[in-house]
Amino acid sequence: MGIDLDIHGIQPGEQTNPWAPVQYVSNTQTPRAPRAIDRPDGFGVLLTQVNKILDWSRSSSLWPATFGLACCAIEMMSTSASRWDISRFGAEVFRASPRQADLMIVAGRLSVKMAPVLRRIYDQMPEPKWVLSMGACASCGGVFNNYAIIQGVDKVVPVDVYVPGCPPTPDMLLHGLNLLQEKIRKHIPSPPDPLAVTGQKYLGSEG
């Protein structure tokens, strides 16, 4: 029956007013997956240090999957060219195969028809993997608030970093990349998979 909205205010058995309104959010707010909570790292000193090295290595060699959907991809290409030189962060290796990539830069608006493809490519990427949503359209639909465009790729894949802009300049994208590196180094997990949360499936996304 879709998403069970988070119910505030009433605890089962609590002797409060049981007929108080149970949801105070506005109609327009999209129900989103709850925020991830940092997972407690209960492994000793050695593993923690190994984890740190692992996180540092991962953050310093992010290999993006080529996923340019629209105009944002031009700026993404520009970011990888000499003026901005994304290779300074070890992320210059744009891979044509998702199986060799660990970062998906979703650059452009995601149409409903493209969503299963995006999801399939995401599923094909090996763990650990991250998603960076580049630009207004990928992040929330942008100006395309219509039936054809998914209102944010975070409805399909878990998004780690949102970069605003239409399109974001290479500086903005690099800022987002740095933020993602920081996030990886701090070992902050990705948000939960939206499809796992909502129980929805996209056709062809099983692969």
Binding site: W84, A136, G142, N145, Y162, V163, P164
Partner: protein, 209 residues
Amino acid sequence: MAMDIIKGLNTTLRELGKKPTTVSYPEEKRPLPARFRGRHVLHRYENGLERCVGCFLCAGACPADAIYIEAAENSEEQRVSPGERYARVFDVNLLRCIFCGYCEQACPTGAITLERIYELSVTHPEDLVYHKEQLLEPLGSATRGSLDAWVAPAPDQTPTPLPGRQGFFDGLEASAAAVGQGDLPAETEIMIAGDTGDPHDTGVAGEEK
């Protein structure tokens, strides 16, 4: 064959002595163009009152529907802006925003401008809905923001002259005429600039009609 290699190496050697073009972004920031449009800022008057009167014109102009306003009435006890009305809630969804600057153009009081703040990435999308408290410039500061950059003529550092002013046929006028607007004067003035009262004054000196 050998000539080709020499040719190629020639280019390499020529570029070898030059400074690299790469901008070392996080440490070094490139100089931004004068009309760069980044995050919004809401401005104040010198006396600390907010310029915004909550008129919704920016929200009406916004093509992405990124601005949400709730207006309220000023009272003598709690005066937020001059006049009757002020914006009680002013949210800009920067995730929706396409940084087009229409809000700036629509604003009758010069309250909202797009400034050179561009490092905006976040990990949670809710954080990109900027509220009035975040958008307002701090109390005590009363700037005009990038308005001046827009009122002034196009800056010199623009690498190419503005389209349509190059002295050769580039199709711009022709397409304007095709939709029946060929005789309209170009809009180079914005509302906030001193109005000369002459609708045909395009603000560009020496231009022939």
